[in-house]
Amino acid sequence: MSGDVNMTAAKKKGLLSPSAKENLRIYWYKFTRNRLSVFGLILVCLSLLFAIFAKQIVPYPEHIGTFVDYANASQAPSGSYWFGTDQMGRDVFSRVIYCFRGALLMSVVVLAIAVPVGTLLGLIAGYYHGTKIDTVIMRITDVFLSVPALILALCIASILKPNMMNSMLAVTIMWWPWYTRLVYGQASSISGEYFVKNAELVGASKMHIMLKEILPNCLSPIFTKMALDVGWVILMGASLSFVGLGEQPPTPAFGQMISDGASYMPDMWWMTIFPAVGVAFMILGFNFLGDGIRDMFDKGGH
């Protein structure tokens, strides 16, 4: 996200650059040319709609809250229950739709913190490749990476109160080092390139070099990983539920639904498959959109 801001800023300063408004129009044109990106945008918008208006659009809003109906437990998909019911008689469709809220919030918050932090540290370490700064940052990253994520989450879980905020915190803490490591690899190889040297000779500030010379060249893998990570973050919820973190019952979450349903496979397949489809829906949306945005800047930027 920080990438497009920088780009636009860079363009503004240029002499023959189009105005910001024209720029947007060019981008929009390029974006809409790619049908998959538009499809992605639609999926993401739908996810957003689900997240905001879940209670208004699902057939059984009460099934999201305090509700138990053993008479209708574990029913296969039918006209009245499109995705069937779970072991407590709750409508899987309503619950899947409601999951979008937590899933969007979680992935946006986690990535919004982990990606900038991880990227910045990776940039710094990569730019100062081979110096003490590199060593310190990367060794700390290594320490965090070398502790298995689930064990780290378990520790955090037992120290903190189990709620959504703390779950996000736990996931964020184990997420940022991945970006640091990823960006570091790219940044340190680019930092030796001629255009970086040029900028140094010209006397550009280190900040400028890192953010405007090196960062744009790391964006592609970051974007790819980010779009894919949306899915991973959502599924982390399943592991967290082992230690009582994540959404607290009865609020549904994709990860928990999938892992709970897994023990009822294959007879009650709908309890696992439909939440998984929900996750796939979101991931698909973010990936198409992510790819679209990246292509748009790639061709527009150079």
Binding site: V68, Q87, S158, P250, A262, M265
Partner: protein, 565 residues
């Protein structure tokens, strides 16, 4: 291309480095092999000769057992113990029956118990079980102070062997259920244990053989330990010279306890006949699927587990008895027995009905109107909406969440806020350590150490268990403590049981500290086409086999027809 190859070569390097790492860590130290590192051949090769028919019966457990009799308390450990060790007395229908002891008597004041042992009982190594082994076992249990030691630490002064076949226990104070509690004194082979002792904190006894007993047995029971691979499986084989004798010619030649809990794993193994008996923690849905398979039946039994919803009686708003009564009316007991813990029995008081000394009490029914009445009578009648009551669930047990949801849903109908949270067992133990952090409600099932109501009442409601997972109520009721102590100190059985009855009524009527969710019926699937399990099959219609944990899994009584497999 050369560089392409280098990539592959580098990857091969990762492999070499890693395997080197595995190598160095498995090569250092002892010479045991890496995978079966803990597997140890038991030296006592008694019996031998022709193997009876019958293969190795395999059962699923949630974790491999502890083999040290002074430590073992977990479910799988109790099963292993019941099959590998003998005790002075054996749990029977009404109280205890003689086992290693032939007879016993106690002094008038109830402070001295004398046991006369049977002669010619052999340990697995062929040596004879004598009175000094019993004394050693008691001293070892008390010195180590773990497992079931707590049953005896307060009462037993000393044990002595007056001759090879007579043991005398001297008590510090009277302890009515002493003989019943002796089912937890597993007799270990003194010479064998001491021959394998290492340095340790117990003076001349070294480590009391603790390290050795982790993977070995020193018992005289029907089966003897063959191999323990931690967190994987435990294998035991038949002991031909078992003193009780082998009337059952189809008894399995050995038993294997495998640590598997995952539903899909269990299902696959049962389908392939790799697993003969499942553990009792399978969901109702998994069991229903297993039952549909050819030759698989569901077995039901009770090990005197009662699921209790602990109410923290010291924090608002649970500190009001009418509020607690209202909560008790919000629990749908019938649905729990029908849909959550299937075929479980409605509880009729703090002690399961099949336990000796139980009395029926005036427990609550699911009734929202009644709940409203109680709520109106409580001191929170006007402001209960301001409180949020927490139900804490063990994150390992999915069924507890179902019950919590049911209560939450009922509570919301009368305007009461309930919040559900989940935590792993370690965090639960910690939260129950102090009164402020103990949740308003938490469902826990507690087992029974010996077959008498007193065992339950003491561990659940006496002040000495406050702050442990056994009591989340924080009653601290001195009157109740006195009543429990008095009952346990009563030697006369009829008198003692009358006192148990009073206590149970007092708890329900005057304190209402707990919601009695159900007496749990444990359900397992087993391969009934080639297994005959008398303990489960010979019960009358509508009844459920019940015994202390482990004693229903007496493999010596089970018929294992390999020829039908």
């Amino acid at each position: 291309m050369k560089k392409g190859l280098s990539v592959i070569l580098s990857f091969a390097m990762v492999a070499t480095l890693l395997s080197g790492c595995g190598n160095s860590s498995s090569g250092g130290g002892t010479t045991t092999q890496a995978a079966g590192g803990s597997g140890t051949e038991v030296t006592a090769a008694a019996g031998g000769g022709s193997e009876a028919a019958g293969g190795v019966i395999t059962m699923g457990v949630s974790g491999t057992p502890d083999l040290d009799p002074a430590i073992a308390t977990t479910g799988s450990s109790c099963i292993a113990m019941a099959n590998m060790y003998d005790t002075l007395v054996y749990p029977g229908k009404d109280g205890v029956e003689p086992r290693v002891a032939e007879s016993w008597e106690n002094s008038e004041d109830g402070l001295t118990y004398t046991f006369h042992l049977k002669k010619g009982i052999q340990f697995h190594d062929g040596s004879e079980l004598t009175a000094s082994d019993v004394v050693f076992s008691m001293n070892r249990l008390l010195a180590i102070g773990e497992g079931y030691a707590y049953l005896f630490t307060d009462s037993v002064e000393s044990a002595e062997a007056t001759d090879d076949y007579t043991v005398v226990f001297h008590l510090k104070k009277t302890f009515g259920p002493f003989v019943s509690a002796l089912v937890r004194l597993l007799i270990v082979n003194e010479d064998l244990v001491m021959a394998n002792k290492q340095d340790g904190p117990y003076g001349e006894f070294g480590d009391y053989g603790k390290a050795w007993l982790v993977t070995n047995d020193a018992g005289s029971g029907a089966y003897m330990a063959k191999e323990l691979v931690q967190q994987d499986y435990f294998l035991a084989e038949k002991f031909d010279d078992w003193f009780v004798g082998w009337n059952n010619q189809y008894a399995p030649a050995g038993f294997k306890m495998m640590a598997i809990t995952e539903a899909s794993t269990v299902r696959t193994m049962v389908a392939n006949k790799e697993l003969d008996i499942t553990d009792q923690w399978q969901s109702a849905e998994t069991l229903a699927a297993l039952e549909k398979m050819d030759g698989v039946s569901i077995g039901e039994y009770s090990t005197y587990l009662e699921y209790n919803m602990y109410y923290n009686t010291q924090i608002e708003p649970m500190d009001d008895i009418n509020f607690r009564r209202a909560i008790s009316c919000l629990i749908d007991y019938d649905t729990i027995c029908e849909s959550v813990f299937i075929h479980s029995v409605k509880a009729t008081g703090p002690v399961p009905a099949t336990v000796q000394g139980h009395v029926d009490t005036a427990v609550f029914e699911y009734n929202l109107d009644k709940a409203k009445e109680y709520l109106a009578a409580s001191k929170y009648a006007n402001n209960y909406g301001d409180y949020t009551v927490e139900i804490l669930c063990n994150s390992d047990v999915a069924d507890l969440e179902k019950i919590a949801l049911m209560i939450q849903s009922a509570a919301s109908q009368i305007g009461l806020n309930i919040e559900i949270s989940k935590a792993p067992w370690v965090s639960i133990i910690d939260r129950m350590g102090s009164v402020e952090t103990t949740p308003h409600m938490i469902a826990i099932n507690s087992g029974l150490s010996y077959d008498e109501a007193g065992a339950y009442l003491e561990s659940r409601y006496h002040s000495k268990t406050m702050g442990t997972w056994e009591q989340g109520e924080w009653l601290g009721d001195t009157k109740l403590d006195g009543m429990i102590e008095d009952a346990l100190a009563t030697v006369d059985k009829t008198e003692r049981f009358a006192k148990y009855g009073e206590i149970q009524n007092y708890i329900v009527d005057e304190l209402c500290p707990t919601g009695y969710l159900c007496e749990m019926t444990e359900r397992i699937a087993y391969q009934s086409s080639y297994i005959t399990w008398p303990a489960l099959e010979n019960v009358a219609e509508g009844e459920i086999a019940s015994a202390l944990y482990g004693y229903l899994h007496q493999f010596a009584d089970i018929e294992y027809h390999t020829e039908k497999k």
